[in-house]
Amino acid sequence: MANVRTHLEQMRNHFAPRPGGFERLVARRDRRVRTQRVVAASVALALSAGLFVGLWNLWNVNPMPSSPGPGPDRGLTIQVGGSPVDVAMGEGSVWVATATDSSGRGNVVRIDPTGGRIVARIPLPEIGALTAAEGSVWVVNLRGGTVTRIDSATNEPTDVIDMPSLLYEVAEGDREFVPESIQSGFGRIWISTARGAVASIDPISDRAVLSAGDPQAILGGVATSRRWVWAWNVFEPPDAEVWRFSPESPEIEGIGVPDVVLDAAAGSAGLYLLHAETGDVSFISEAGQHSRLGSAGERANAIAALDSTVYLAAASGSIYAIDGLSGERRLLKHLPQEPIALAVAADGLWVTAGDGTVTEVVLGS
């Protein structure tokens, strides 16, 4: 042990920070104070400009994407290959984003949920989180700072959409919106960045605009419920917070939560939060009331919600359903591999795992 400690100390002492650290800190502090003032005014202006578009899209609300119908109790497991990073349901299919190497290249694999057949493999130079809606599949390109649009009718990429620049700098000269999470709702595609902002894409023009931002926030994801767009930060209490805002309004309401949020999913009545190490689930209603709901009882990796039921993928491989009203937990299935992501619609729940598989969990089983 002494050897290890000695070597660690030697290694630590080797690393020297760049000169001028305090001067950079002063500049960082001054920048933050300035941009906080700018953000307050500019976000209001940007959201007002987007108000007409938001109202137009609400007036012309698209129906929910078609969900795969109920199927027989098959418990299909399909090998999609690579390292699955995300799964989404919509446009009549199951879509799996899978990385083929550590550079970020990968495939979007399209699966027919009624037969479990792989319908298409769509190669992309960069793979990330995805969502299926508005006639397309939308894939985040984290490194590229863009979103790729794939036409669900042809399985062909039709556009690579640039994210807007942030209204503030996160480092000197750096205003890049690095997209991470993506979700559909209110006729738009919503994207969040850990750099504290949410943007949305109009699927008619393929134009992305900023919706909300805070240079001090580190956002973990975005979701949409019946009335609200939601985003959450990754901070510890007392700074742990969930945002909600209406797509037509520039006002962000911050709701403090008592535990770190790992992931969240919107159901019919509000937002369900998965808390980091405990697997606990809490709930924020559409009215903004927070309450504890239940728990996986173990560390969980991902959450999904359908109506008033929450689905959790535990690190152990257990897939749980938690009743959104009573908090009662039910084990649905146990997978042999640690789950990565899950998606749910109607009677179908699909879970990706690190062994390159995606598994169907038939609801009601």
Binding site: R12, A16, L25, A99, G128, E180, V260, I340
Partner: protein, 170 residues
């Protein structure tokens, strides 16, 4: 409008903070280099942790151990970013570490490479216990796990590092 006394106190506080910064910057930065495996990430976390402390300096400066608060803040920020990176890493999108090892002697490169291959939680645990000399309950608070988990993670890390040392020396 601030009074002369308040301005004087603020000025003294700013000087005290600058001294605190210069005293602790290298140690924190070096620790975070080991924890993150990425010099850019380490610099970002160092700056952010100090900034948060500075924003609360009137309360932090009167604590028994402001440096402990600094490290706790830095580790909390690291954990927050780690959760993002963990999800990105699990998605197979490698955010490759960018630690500059130019001019390193061989043995340090080997061990540093070994440290970098440790899972992040093992890395943070062994650094918290062995480098920062934190008791396991404090380390557990900072890392957000139980003390017994910290000890287990650190033990796993030490075994891996010792094996690397023995391999190199053998």
């Amino acid at each position: 409008m601030r009074t002369v006394n308040e301005i004087g106190r603020l000025a003294l506080g700013a000087e005290e903070f600058e001294t605190f910064f210069r005293t602790n910057e290298q140690r924190l930065y070096g620790t975070l280099c080991l924890v993150t495996g990425d010099s850019r990430e380490a610099e970002e976390l160092t700056q952010e942790a100090f900034l948060r402390l500075w924003e609360r300096w009137d309360r932090v400066s009167v604590l028994d151990d402001p440096a402990a608060y600094l490290y706790r803040t830095a580790f909390n920020l690291f954990r927050s970013r780690l959760r993002r990176l963990y999800r990105a890493a699990r998605r197979g999108i490698g955010l490759k570490p960018a630690l500059d090892l130019s001019g390193e002697i061989d043995e340090r490169v080997d061990l540093l490479a070994a440290v970098r291959t440790l899972p992040p939680r093992q890395r943070a645990a062994v650094i918290a216990l062995d480098l920062l000399d934190l008791p396991s309950d404090k380390a557990g608070e900072i890392l957000g796990v139980k003390p017994v988990t910290v000890r287990a993670l650190a033990s796993q890390a030490r075994q891996a590092l010792r094996a690397r040392l023995e391999e190199r020396d053998g």
